[in-house]
Symmetry: C2
Subunit: 476 residues, 2 copies
């Protein structure tokens, strides 16, 4: 993919090294604020976290810093114009809220009293996502110091939301309402991770998601299976028949039209995936699973990163207490989620589900379908100029080849792509052992500083190599 | 099936009429005892009910009356030998415990303060089963009075258990332990009903039952469906696939070997069923169901009475709370019940389920199957001499043709058949509107007195026409 990494910039490294202690001191201060968006009692802390960040971004030099109220927790917006009319505009996305955490969950130390140990900083939010937001502050300062600029080489915007850990309920509306202010050529999401400490990677896409609940209603009340069973439709049976019909024998999704438009993996990306040092046994341990199973013809990584899936998240109906109860249940429920890849349309999938369910159920079973929402997939082509800039900057910082991953999950990044019409890139330095959402979350300090260094290189590289679709290429 | 009913015996009728008030007074006294076997706080009442019945059976004339302790609630046994060495031995089965009931469940009157109104007696247990047990007391007295006998024409045994409404947990062991004392040529179960007030019927069989719980275990904990979904087996999906595979497209049970040995309905019985004034719309209202659905090629009555079925009583797995949660669940559970008909073997069905489940599940899904038990089906051929005697006696009492039904449910009657090796007959006068297990349970007093009268005719008829397999026929 790339040639030998460019040599590191000694001015950047020296600048960062000199300020490392102060940078970590500031991050530690931020991590002490328990900005748990899911906990109503922490609403003040989430606001305090936003204010703290806003102050720090002003101190960093961003001339425009705003705290944006939402019906929930506030987001922080910052803007530092380049001054160059040709410069691309970049929007960095992250979040300042964190998952809940309590000592008794299994933390070895207080989750909101950061502890540095063996080159790691332990605290809730250290990796997800405060650490990864914060590396941009020192990064942009190092960029300025090393280049002698007084403003970044790109028009740099930051949008750091406060409800990501609560499902970003107000994020799409916020982005839509502030679309003018957020307008950008490319979005950089710093809320993901790398393959491992030894294998730096950049993520090129996330899957989309649409999920629903299907309620099935049969008899008006639970009825006696001796008196009526086998002669009236059973909603639990019908729920099972729907769930079972989601996949064929090859574990392909059998929903009509589901694969329409799917952007298939090309051989180049399959080959790159296959080169990753993937240990399926280790992966299965992470999955707490005894075996791999999925769509025939694809590897495990391909299945979770690049293939659309249907999953039964929950099923319920009839008697679930101890022992037996010989009833035909009156109702049953299915919770399904569909992960989507580029080329799929969530609304079409929803429509297909609606038609398929209506067509599949016998007389005597009434149903309701509720879709909880839709998050679009996003995927950046491997040769996108902005992606190339991210890769070059990471390779320069890490001194080694950077490989590609995708992310099987789904995130609010897609809202940026949708509303702003900008491609989404992922720049994250977290590693799987960082323990997102788990006790003893930490960030690897050496990797965190590589994040700072990558950010320090990125804006210059991006500006230099930027070739927006609508303007003439600035590089050969 | 039968010719014109024999004329009623005026002596029997006069005897019964004279004692009707006292009989109902006694029954009312018994119904005041809240013998709710499911309620530990009512254990004393259940014991009191047994003692009360034992006293009443002694007063009726049974020379041998015993209260049999069990690890749970006591049963009552009574024996009145005929004195005729050729006489057949009949064991009447019923139960003296009742379902729970509370005024606030929707009762118009106190459930344990019987109220007579418009020819009906309202009380918990009026139909299920105290009324139907109790008609045998006046019945046997009327038999003696009208025939001038001092002992019944058959060796008459009664076994009235105290835990039927709690699933008869100790009944099989009790029957096995007392098999010598309970030995009989035929068992008469008075714990069922008739088609309707206008259509007296006799039930010729009940379905058997075996039910189980299948626990499926996948990932060691709920895992993220974005990171892992579509690449590891999902126990909720596998539970659904099992449940869905229980039936084919014709809604026949698809479990291998399930229909092996099934005694098929013959054309004669199908014709008799078809003659019943069955109103499917009314039946669907009783079922609280909007449509009928079952095994192709059979009517609704055939499906519930004479065909084996598989039913999903409960299914559960994963997230069942409000909203969505994108997990691959760690476990799922299925509760299945199989209704069995004559010729099927519960143990074979269980073995087939075990093999089918083991064969159906993919690697990575561990399972456990627990069978709760097995109740055998029972079926008396339409031309069985004892069944003919029941029909003749009912027709004489009711003054009209008696038709045949079966019962889709399953009951402890099968234990009598199994352990004692005796055919089981059903003599019940309850009607669907009696509200078994429901608020405002009642018994129709006219029908109750028809029960008394039938019992008064039955013992003489049975003795007269008895033709046991092992002894020469006593009738041409």
């Amino acid at each position: 993919m790339s040639n030998t990494p460019a040599a590191p910039d000694s001015a950047v490294r020296a600048y960062i090294e000199e300020r490392r202690a102060a940078f970590l001191g500031d991050l530690t201060e931020w991590l002490r604020i328990p900005s748990v968006s899911a906990d109503p009692d922490r609403a003040d802390d989430v606001r305090r976290s936003a204010e703290w960040l806003a102050g720090k971004l002003s101190a960093t030099g961003f001339p425009e810093v705003e705290v944006w109220a939402t019906p929930g927790a506030p987001a922080v917006f910052a803007y530092w114009p380049s001054g160059d009319p040709e410069a691309p505009t970049v929007l960095v996305y992250g979040h300042h809220d964190v998952q809940p955490a309590a000592r008794e969950d299994g933390w070895h130390t207080e989750p909101f009293e950061p502890v540095e140990k063996d080159g790691r900083l332990y605290a809730r939010g250290a990796a997800d996502d405060k650490g990864q937001v914060f590396f941009h502050t020192l990064g942009v300062r190092a960029h300025l110091a090393a280049t002698g600029r007084t403003a970044p080489a790109v028009n740099l915007k930051l949008l750091i939301e406060g409800e990501e850990e609560s499902g970003s309920p107000h994020f799409p509306a916020l982005v839509a309402a502030r679309a003018d202010r957020l307008a950008c050529d490319v979005a950089v999401v710093s809320d993901t991770g790398m393959w491992s400490e030894d294998t730096p990677t950049v993520c090129t896409g996330m899957r989309g998601l649409t999920d629903c609940q299907i309620d099935l209603y049969g008899p008006g009340q639970d009825i006696h299976s001796g008196s009526f069973g086998g002669a009236v439709p059973n909603p639990a049976t019908e729920a099972a028949r729907l769930a079972a019909a989601l996949h064929d024998e090859d574990r392909r999704v059998a929903l009509p039209g589901f694969y329409d438009g799917v952007v298939e993996l090309d051989e180049r990306e399959r080959k790159l995936f296959a080169e990753l040092p993937f240990d399926e046994d280790a992966w299965l341990r992470t999955a707490h699973s005894g075996a791999a199973l999925g769509e025939a013809g694809y590897t495990t990584l391909e299945r979770v990163w690049a293939r659309p899936t249907a999953e039964v998240n929950g099923i319920g109906g009839g008697y679930q207490g101890p022992g037996g109860k010989t009833v035909v249940p009156s109702s049953a429920q299915l919770k399904l989620s569909f992960r989507l890849v580029a080329g799929q349309d969530a609304e079409k999938v929803q429509q297909s589900v609606r038609e398929w369910v209506a067509r599949s159920l016998p007389d005597g079973i009434r149903h309701e379908i509720t879709f909880w929402g839709a998050t679009r997939p996003c995927l950046t082509p491997l040769d996108h100029p902005a992606l190339r800039a991210v890769v070059r900057s990471m390779e320069r910082a890490f001194g080694q080849r950077v490989r590609f991953t995708r992310e099987g999950g789904s995130g609010p990044a897609a809202d940026l792509q949708d509303v702003l019409g900008a491609p989404v890139l992922f720049l994250g330095i977290s590693v799987p052992s960082d323990g997102w959402h788990a006790p003893n979350e930490k960030v690897e300090l050496d990797l965190l500083m590589k994040g700072v260094e990558t950010a320090a290189y990125l804006w210059g590289d991006l500006a230099e190599h930027w070739s927006a679709p609508t303007r003439p290429s600035t590089t050969p």
